[in-house]
Amino acid sequence: MTAVATRTVRRVVLSAPVVAVGGALALTTLVMLVVGVDPSLAYPALVRGAIADGNLEYTIAAFVPTLGMALAFALPLRAGEFNLGGDGQLAAGGVAAAALALSAPLPPVLAVLLPLAAATLAGGLVAALAAPLSTRLGIPAIVSTLLISAPAVSLASYLVRFPLGEQGTGLAQTPPLPAAAHLPALTEGGYVTLGLPLIVALTGLWLYADGRTVLGYELRATGRNREFARYGGVRVNRLAAFALAGGGGFAGLVGGLIVLGPPYRFVDGALTAPGYTFTAVAAVLLAAARPFAVPVAVALLTLLQVGGQGMEREAGVPSQLTQIVQGLIIVIVAVFATVRARRRRA
């Protein structure tokens, strides 16, 4: 009994995510000490910044887009495609939602649903551009998604400033969206919207599809060994394109959710500046091919991200420290995965 317990404890303690987070925090502490910050002040500030003093609402509000972007990265990754173009897909989704919501007065429920659908479609289309480049021309998705992302962000920025821009203010933002297009709020502050249950439901759907459907099986087979899947009769090119487009769709939807949430307009840069895309990438890689761990990893890194801002306010530690932690986590996970695979083989 105790032996089993010890073994379980050891397995958990030595699992990739725990080692990665532990290692990253140790290195972060080292960074703090080197630059002369007292960790005993910084870490409580971080925790307070994430969950105390009503900050939990912000953390949850940030959890929604990060989880959505995690799906945008994880879905194609299961099929072996790296989608690093989340920013462009996000911006495309946001601008599509804003454009639709501003252009036509829509009846109450449709005023939310149609812009979100448009956002999903726009994000999916931007990501799908990378699919034929990868499957037909052999340009890796990791490069093409990223290259497509930059002009997509520029285009969104242009549209938000000029054709869709708010006249007369000189600010780079659209006018406020009509009230019918506002996402219903779930908290008093209004920051947690219907987007939370929506993304949580979509995550559940993804988890189910990944583990227990033919589509999920074929996607995984495509990712693990594309030649094997092709040999087995799976239409791998089509699936890879679907996975990229699906990932882009999630990113686009996140863009729509952000625009239809407070402050109910597309503010240039507001979608990409918080760095949801790469926080999500770090979270998915931290989950290390365990889909069920993705929401947990997203929650952890969101706490870190939002808490980092609290840390900056209280302890004067630049919040970019959290980006350092994320980068370190990714590197440690990658190293750990190989070391373990080699030990298993030996």
Binding site: V31, I139, A282, Q320, Q323, V325, V331, A334, V335, V339
Partner: protein, 295 residues
């Protein structure tokens, strides 16, 4: 010749140089079979460390040296993780790019006290060749690192084709097992090129922050490292073609800059290098495919 055209060519060269230096790093990695997509992060880190050292010492050359050394160390992370420990180089590179972004933004606030953009009279930029007495068109307004970058293209071609280590590096890249079987140290070559790419990215960063401009701003690499990755893909691992690919990017940036002056929105200028690079990549891939089909 029209003065305007000289200045345009000069602008092209200025825009090309940092990308070219980073791409040379990517190229030698590719030769030895290392897919290095951490160029973006290394370029940014190089720019930052160049500015820090130049600011502290008041010497641009110290900045260049500092960037080279600091980026060599940064590349050591990649070579340790991806070569020694055999971790997935793509995932490691994604992590390192993020790390560089976070680290530069963080240290910038720690060292210079604020984020955004840093510039100061203490910060020494690289001299132009004209200031060094070489007042010729096109090259005159460039920093000495620009001709160095061009010479390095020739050096890379020579190394690959004419030297023993170049031949061996190609062997390592083509078939690592075969290289080991003839007694070559595969890991040694891979460490070597990864670290050398670090030095080249350090120079690229120094050129960007002390040559093209004299300042550091957050995320100032702005995708140049990724353009360099694409340039390597376009080059078919041939140094002179790499130069052409990088010049294409330089032209795109210079044209975008001009058009912006002519009233085009800044976003179009921002997007131009990416769109043109992407189009070139697609055209090259399509052409390669067609050539194979028609042969």
């Amino acid at each position: 010749m029209n003065i305007l055209e000289w200045s345009f060519l000069s602008g092209v060269l200025t825009a090309t140089a940092p990308v070219l230096l980073a791409a040379l790093g990517g190229l030698i990695c590719q030769v030895a079979g290392v897919f290095n997509i951490a160029l973006e992060g290394q370029l940014l880190w190089g720019a930052f460390t160049a500015v820090v050292v130049s600011d502290l010492t008041g010497s641009a050359w110290a900045g260049v040296a500092g960037a080279a050394v600091a980026t060599l160390l940064f590349a050591g992370l990649l070579s340790a993780a991806a070569v020694s420990l055999r971790a997935d180089p793509i995932v490691v590179a994604v992590g390192l790019n993020l790390l560089a972004l976070g680290l530069t933004a963080f240290l910038m606030r720690q060292i210079f006290g604020s984020g955004g953009t840093y510039t100061s009279p203490d910060l020494a930029g690289l001299p132009t060749l004209a200031e060094l007495g070489l007042d010729v068109p096109v090259l005159g307004p460039q920093s000495p690192l620009v001709p160095v970058a061009l010479l390095l293209v020739v050096a890379a071609a020579w190394w690959l084709g004419r030297t023993r280590s170049g031949l061996r590096a190609r062997g390592v890249g083509q078939h690592a097992e075969a290289a080991a079987a003839v007694g070559l140290r595969v890991g040694g070559y891979r460490h070597g090129v990864t670290l050398a790419a670090g030095v080249l990215c350090g120079l690229a960063g120094a050129q960007l922050a002390l040559g093209n401009v004299t300042l550091f701003s957050e995320g100032m690499s702005a995708g140049r490292g990724w353009i360099a990755v694409v340039a390597v893909m376009l080059s078919g691992v041939r140094p002179y073609r790499l130069l052409l690919a990088c010049l294409l990017f330089g032209i795109a940036e210079a044209v975008g800059f001009r058009l912006q002056g002519a009233g085009l929105p800044q976003q179009a200028a921002d997007a131009a290098p990416y769109v043109i690079t992407l189009v070139a990549l697609v055209l090259a891939a399509v052409a390669g495919r067609r050539r194979r089909e028609n042969a």
